[in-house]
């Protein structure tokens, strides 16, 4: 018996999972584009990475930190999407 059948939960609503997956994919491609830009610069224009961009700190470091902090921001946006989807689904189910 799959665990979902043993413990029914609002998330198991398939429409909800699909809505979450769509939001996830959009955010994924946004992040992927940022990551690909970083890889491209590092591989083909490493000298551009040495340009100071913020408080005397160069692009390589700022871009790297943006990718790390950006992952957390993307995660937070995704969580708020999922939370909103779950609230909508609960309201729908209540009608």
């Amino acid at each position: 018996m799959p665990p979902s059948a043993a413990a029914p939960h609002i998330d198991d609503h398939l429409g909800l999972s699909a809505a979450n997956a769509r939001a996830g994919l959009v955010l994924f491609f946004v992040y992927l584009a940022a990551y690909a830009g970083f890889m491209g610069l590092a591989a083909f224009a490493p000298q551009a990475m040495g340009t100071p961009v913020l408080a005397g700190v160069n692009l390589a470091i700022i871009y790297g930190m943006v990718l790390i902090v950006g992952a957390l921001i993307v995660a937070a946006i995704y969580m708020s999407f999922c939370g909103r989807n779950a609230r909508l689904a609960t309201r729908e189910a209540g009608r």
């Binding site: 939960h9 994919l25 490493p46 000298q47 040495g50 100071p52 390589a60 790297g64 993307v74 995660a75």
Partner: protein, 660 residues
């Protein structure tokens, strides 16, 4: 460098192990059912699971390897930090929820949820086993390499201690105890690295490391000379450059008779000093190994290697030589100011070269004076050096396309792609999704994981640069950089960081052994071979497998002692991404996926990436001892080819078998 056993470190480590084992035995009674053993009843709170993700993921390679790479080569180590963290986005946005929804104990469950195919179960279990073992070897080798300098025991002892403790953790309470060990380790690692970073920023940057740390007292300063000055002083004691020394940038002075009496100076590679008409030369540190039959005499800096009076050892290195504007110490700095101050400083880093001559092998460790800004862009390490090169070379006045440079750039891109795709395909990470109660918890715990792991990876930059300028680095061993950085703040921080580094190995190894144990007992024995097992026998089978896998890991850890650790971790990511990611993604997003498509894609990704790795230049050099130029494939990291290959095979086979 020779390290004295730190009894405080041994004590702190013993305390950690005692706490961890105590928790395991206490929890042992609670994990008697299969769902308890394999998935901690799906009852782990999401926050704990999130920190446990960090404990599971931040392996010895992350902590010691990245810090060491930054401490020696600058930015390039941070590239790994970025790639390792970015991979979590794939885990969160693509894999986490469906995996939790579709599976029960292992990732094979999720892949097979719609098909009930024995082929998928076998393929997924084999790929789990291969990836886990690939990842286990470097962890075990890491344990052995660490224990000697950190705690003073032999390599074998290190491997055995880790093996026995981990098997005990896994066998007592399976995923329950594994989770708590990983939680404790993850929390400790992030906490203490934060403290260490605060200490680095508070110390700032100084040109005199001996003034700030007892451990830097014997620090090797940069002394430069003009060539003519050295030649005049040496007179006829100057050894003429012959054989392998010809055309090398060394001056050798015979100060006493014999190979041990030769003092070596090297032309200083520098991007800062501009001395008109003359180059600067500097003193070096040397290891001379004289073979006499089976015996090898080791001479360090002109004296027999040892710590007793009359013996010599390497001196700690790594410092800032020039600080702009002209001053000796910066005082406390903020996180951005630290980086911009480092950017404008003149930093002394160390490299080495080995020269073999009949029965005498000389390894020269020499300083380089580098502008900080050069250390803060990609391409400073030998691994990634080619990304700074131009795709076009000038030959006889003509621009010629340089294929070698292109292959090296593709190698770099391939590694970055493998790091991005590999995280969400690592079996020991995937099984953590079954320890929480639902998809919302899976999601939340991934976010906690991303926050703690991301924060840690930002710290690695400061830890690495802090170590580089601490005056306490071991020029012969970059894995020791993080603990030695801690030593520059005193013996207690050194003991705590050493013990945490060692505990790091425990957390990751227990996760890997759990993943392998699930693959064998649940996927192969129960589901593929369809051996009838009740709940209790399933747990027993899992525990037995854990013991066997643990023993195999110990043997491999001892056999692979001399192997390059980071090389194997890179392989594991490539193999995991090539074998597992195509099936996971296509199952979720393409309705046309068939069971044959999944099975073939796993095998194609697994075997093609393995074959590529074994036919690569790195394997030629490190495994077979052959010339890397004669390798069968143009670059070493397979991901850029074998991940798309996995997708292509899945689509092709699925289309061919769809009507069946």
């Amino acid at each position: 460098m020779i390290y004295e056993t730190s009894y405080t470190a041994v004590g702190v480590f013993a305390f950690f192990v005692a706490v961890v084992l105590g928790i395991s035995f206490y929890l042992g009674a609670k994990a008697k059912s299969a769902s308890g053993y394999y998935a901690a009843h799906g009852q782990i709170p999401w926050f704990v699971n999130g920190v446990a993700f960090a404990g599971d993921y931040l392996s010895a390679a992350s902590f010691l390897g990245i810090c060491g790479m930054i401490a020696f080569y600058g930015y390039d180590g941070f590239l790994y930090s970025i790639g390792y963290l970015a991979g979590w986005i794939v885990a969160l946005l693509v894999i986490a929820e469906p995996l939790k929804r579709l599976g029960k104990f292992t990732f094979a469950d999720a892949l097979d949820s719609q098909f009930n195919s024995r082929g998928i179960k076998l393929a997924a279990a084999i790929s789990t086993l291969v990836v886990s073992v690939f990842y286990l070897i470097p962890q075990m080798v890491g344990a052995g390499t660490l224990i000697k300098p950190l705690l003073g025991f032999s390599h074998q002892t290190g491997v055995l201690v880790v093996g026995v403790v981990v098997v005990l953790i896994v066998v007592t309470a399976g995923m329950v105890s594994t989770t708590w060990v990983q939680f404790i380790k993850g929390a400790l690692l992030v906490l203490f690295c934060t403290v260490l970073t605060a200490m680095i920023l508070n110390r700032g940057i100084t040109t005199d490391p001996t003034a700030q740390a007892v451990a830097a007292r014997k620090h090797f300063p940069l002394k430069t000379f003009y060539r003519s000055e050295l030649e005049n002083r040496a007179g006829d004691r100057l050894v003429p450059p012959a054989g392998p020394w010809e055309k090398k940038p060394y001056l050798r002075v015979q100060e006493r008779p014999g190979p041990e009496g030769v003092k070596i100076y090297r032309e200083l590679p520098n991007s800062l000093l501009q001395i008109a008409g003359a180059e600067a030369w500097s003193e070096t540190q040397t290891l001379v190994e004289v073979k006499n039959g089976l015996q090898v005499r080791r001479i360090v800096n002109g004296l027999p290697h040892g710590t007793k009076p009359g013996e010599g050892d390497f001196r700690p290195v790594g410092h800032v030589e020039m600080l702009f504007p002209d001053r000796k110490a910066s005082g406390p700095l903020g996180p951005l100011k630290y980086l911009s101050t480092f950017d404008s400083a003149g930093v002394v880093t160390w490299a080495s070269e080995k020269i073999v001559e009949d029965n005498v092998t000389t390894t020269i460790y020499y300083p380089k004076l580098v502008r900080g800004s050069e250390l803060l862009v990609p391409g400073g390490s030998p691994t990634f050096a080619a990304i700074r090169q131009n795709l076009y070379a000038t030959k006889d006045g003509k621009q010629v396309f340089d294929w070698k440079v292109l292959w090296s750039k593709l190698d770099f891109l391939s590694l970055m792609i493998a790091l991005f795709c590999g995280t969400a395909s690592l079996p020991h990470i995937l099984i953590r999704y079954y320890t929480v109660k639902d998809q919302a918890s899976a999601r939340k715990s991934t976010v906690v994981g991303i926050a703690s792991i991301g924060f840690f990876y930002i710290l690695t930059l400061y830890l690495g640069l802090g170590a580089m300028t601490s005056g306490t680095l071991d020029p012969t061993n970059n894995n020791m950089s993080a603990p030695l950085l801690a030593r520059s703040f005193g013996e207690l921080p050194f003991a705590v960081i050493s013990a945490i580094a060692f505990t790091t190995v425990l957390g990751t190894v227990s996760g890997l052994i759990m993943a392998a144990s699930g693959a064998v007992a649940h996927d192969i024995l129960a589901n593929f071979l369809r051996i009838e097992m009740n709940d209790a026998t399933k747990v027993r089978a899992g525990k037995l497998t854990a013991v066997v896998v643990g023993m195999i890991a110990m043997v491999l850890g001892i056999l692979f002692e001399k192997f390059n650790v980071s090389f194997l971790v890179g392989w594991a990511f490539n193999v995991a991404a090539s074998a597992n990611l195509p099936s996971l993604v296509m199952l979720l997003f393409w309705r046309g996926t068939t069971r044959q498509g999944i099975t073939w894609a796993i095998f194609a990704g697994l075997f093609s990436s393995l074959a590529w790795v074994l036919a690569s230049g790195e394997a030629y050099k490190n495994v077979y001892g052959l010339d890397p130029a004669s390798a069968l494939v143009p670059f070493s990291q397979p991901g850029i080819v074998t991940i798309p290959l996995g997708f292509a095979v899945l689509v092709a086979v699925s289309r061919l078998t769809r009507t069946q």
